[in-house]
Amino acid sequence: MSLGRLAAPLGIFTLLALTACGGDLSNAVFVEDAAFRAALPQLAVSLAWPGGEVIVEEPATGAELLSLPPTQDALVELAGALDLLQVTVSPALSLSPSERGEDYRVWGPYPFEEAPGSFIRLEMSRTRDRALYSVALQAAATSLGPWTEFGVGLWSEEPLEDDLVGELGWDWGAFGAATGAEAQGHFTLAWSEGGEHLRLHLAEIGGLEEATMSVLLAEGGGQLTTEARVDLDDAGGLPESLTLGSVWDAAGAGRGALSVSGGDLGLVSNTAEHCWAADGALLWFSDEEGWGTTSGDELACASPPP
């Protein structure tokens, strides 16, 4: 037998060998797991009030018309929404997907820390070009289901609206129906890339009929716009419309304008303006209708009107 005679068939066989293969033995699936995780919204935004806790100095009358307390309350609401989002998706950052597909991953079921006894299942999918991700949150009272969708999110490389790239809707009613928890209302949280611009829409939560808060953070300070329908006097009557616009700087000093109208007020409306120092000290307060006591001097305000 001559190896020379075998050279040609061996060469052909080797060429075939070098081209004939199949299957998948790569770690790409783990890389993709990481890509999905990285795409989950993780908004590391500090919504703590600059300068820490402040003691709001109130005028003799019209304290309910001050801008600083509702501004801080709005930031707390927003922070709560962000925390809730973080608590909901954080297990997906540490758990392996329970289902994998080329353009989707499923995590869970895993216990929902925010509502003990309930379970969450998170489905995440993306478009083939990876430009648009969506997430569906499902809840159940057991890890076996049945599953009810209570949250839907969508985010993109390109802004969906203004500079907002992501949006997540959360239906507490559906969650409560699925898990037996006492929950109602729903909210929608939208965010910009990096989380400097947040918008939270609340509905039917507590005494709040509807509210939309939008905060824009920049250089340690921020700007807030809130529109809400709320029963201000909590008398069970018609809810009033409330509009709040406020700005503050990195030290916490700022000013705001709060307008109330409608509801039990009928045709009456009032707008109050308020500016404050970094420690919350009242620098100026005035309202159009004179429900409160004008105090201080507008010239002491550090910021222009929002």
Partner: protein, 531 residues
């Protein structure tokens, strides 16, 4: 007149006891450039049986080295020399005879024992250092006359000895099957070499020219020379001439075999004519050939069934006989029947042996070892090392070429660590491989040590199951993988013990943008048998 000296068998000796020792060596294999012989080792067995049945050699006094290499032969010789020394120590007066027989390839330098060589100089030293009083060397190999030529040996029709029954001889006799530049020929017709065929025939009685039932060295040489030259005269290679060399002091002839009347034998009375070939039906070999006519010839055989043939140009006459223990069976009373050569039973047996001997050597081995990626990063991040087991079949040609197929499979466990992803997950890996390889092997050395290298192509299945607590991840890859193979090991007797290493290229991209291939390595220990 040439006097070699005197040596008789034990019966009736007045002066000293004779102890006989023999070393029978043979190897069908020689230099890779030569064709394998078919009958060298079976010829050696015939000589061994003849010596023990008729030559006064005890079963434990005949050492064998068949199909073995030079180191093995020297080891066996060392044991034999110790036995001679012990015999000398037991009886200082004993006359000790040492007979060395070799059948196999040879050239002008020495005997070819497989791929090793025992030079004629070493052979002479063996004879000289054996410690025996009388050293006989019967060498059946091509160009073996170079051995006698070294000492002025002669190619002659016969030599004549004084015949006495004295044991006062010392010295060496060497007989070779051919001259220094002749080939020694095997014959498919007689199932052996011409030289040994007539040597055995002669020792069994065909050479007993004087009818005294004692076959002497001179009778045997005369018989072997005559028959070998005549029977090879018309072969394609041409006539083959045995040679001899002697260096004996003393008187008398050397009696090789004693055809005791009590020994079973076939008798060929003078009333018969022609050459009678005797085929042992039980051992399936020719045991001798007798030229009948001038006087009654006797061929000593063991108890058994025999086919006795007389050959004619167009047909055979065949008689099947049974010889009982101690029986002297007169063949003139046997019933011969005419038979065509195509129906020759003996020929059929021999041709089967020829075909068997012509086949390359095969070996089946069990494999155990490991399979892993060569790069540690691949082992750590993709595919843990696997333990494997399987089987291999290899065919070795005498020219050194070999062809092998193998199949093995196995599994492994480990933890995949992916630093870039900050991930560690337990994984099980599995492999199945079916490969074919060709290459060249070295000559076998000491203890059959041999190594080889070649090309290998394998059909490869690689799989892994990753258990990261989430969705079960079962992955696999299929590939035709080219590569190299090297192996080395020992072949003691019929056993094969090898270490075999495969280096394969797997045409597979493990990561996007990475290399289009990655190397794998199989490290396998194997044990098996060859035939």
């Amino acid at each position: 007149m040439i006097t070699l000296g005197a040596l008789t068998l034990g019966a009736g000796l007045a002066y000293a006891e004779v102890r006989r020792f023999a070393l029978i060596a043979a190897n069908n294999e020689g230099d890779p450039d030569t064709n394998a012989l078919v009958f060298a080792e079976t010829d050696a067995k015939k000589v061994q049986r003849t010596l023990t049945e008729l030559g006064g050699y005890g079963p434990g006094d005949v050492w064998m080295s068949l199909g073995r290499d030079r180191p093995t032969l020297l080891t066996v010789f060392g044991e034999l020399r110790r036995a001679i020394s012990d015999a000398r120590a037991q009886d200082a007066e004993a006359e000790i005879v040492f007979l060395f027989y070799y059948s196999g390839h040879a050239d002008e330098q020495g005997l070819q024992l497989g791929r090793t060589q025992l030079t004629y100089e070493e052979l002479e030293r063996m004879l000289d250092n054996s410690g025996a009083d009388v050293r006989l060397a019967l060498v059946d190999g091509c160009n073996s006359g170079a051995l006698t030529r070294r000492k002025g040996g002669t190619m002659a029709p016969s030599f004549v000895f004084d015949v006495t029954e004295r044991l006062n001889t010392q010295g060496t006799v060497i007989i070779t099957s051919s001259t220094g530049d002749e080939a020694s020929q095997e014959s498919d017709e007689i199932g052996g070499s011409y030289f040994t065929h007539y040597l055995v025939s002669g020792m069994r009685g065909a050479a007993d020219a004087d009818g005294d039932a004692k076959v002497t060295l001179s009778e045997v040489y005369d018989h072997v020379y005559r028959e070998t030259v005549i029977k090879t005269a018309n072969t394609r290679i041409g006539a083959q001439h045995p040679t001899f060399d002697w260096d004996l002091a003393g008187e008398g002839d050397v009696v090789l075999t004693d055809l005791d009347p009590a020994t079973s034998a076939l008798l060929f009375p003078s009333s018969l004519t022609g050459a009678y070939a005797v085929f042992d039906l039980d051992r399936r070999e020719f045991v001798g050939e007798v030229e009948a006519g001038a006087q009654t010839r006797r061929l000593a055989v063991r108890e058994g069934r025999y086919l006795v043939q007389v050959r004619f140009p167009t047909h055979l006459k065949v008689a099947e006989v049974r010889v009982n223990s101690g029986q002297q069976l007169d063949m003139s009373a046997a019933s011969f029947r005419t038979m065509s050569y195509n129906d020759d039973v003996a020929k059929g047996h021999i041709q089967r042996e020829v075909r068997r001997a012509s086949r390359p050597e095969s070996a089946v081995r069990l494999l155990v070892g490991t399979t892993s990626a060569v790069q540690a990063q691949v082992v750590n991040e993709v595919l843990p090392t696997m333990g494997v087991g399987g089987v291999s079949y290899r065919v070795d040609w005498r020219g050194g070429q070999w062809l092998a197929v193998d199949a093995f499979g196995g599994a492994g466990m480990g933890t995949l660590t992916m630093p870039e992803l900050n991930l560690s997950v337990p994984a099980r890996s599995s492999v199945a491989s079916v490969g074919a390889s060709v290459g060249y092997a070295t000559r076998s050395g000491w203890a059959g040590a041999q190594a080889g290298a070649g090309l290998r192509v394998a059909g490869l299945y690689l799989g892994r199951s990753v258990d990261d607590g989430g969705a079960p991840l079962n992955q696999y890859a299929l590939a035709l993988s080219p590569g190299l193979v090297v192996w080395g090991g020992l072949q003691p007797g019929r056993l094969v013990l090898d270490l075999e290493i495969h280096r394969q290229v797997v045409p597979y991209t493990l990561e996007e943008g990475g290399s289009a291939t990655f190397p794998m390595r199989d490290v396998l220990l194997s044990a098996g048998v060859r035939w």
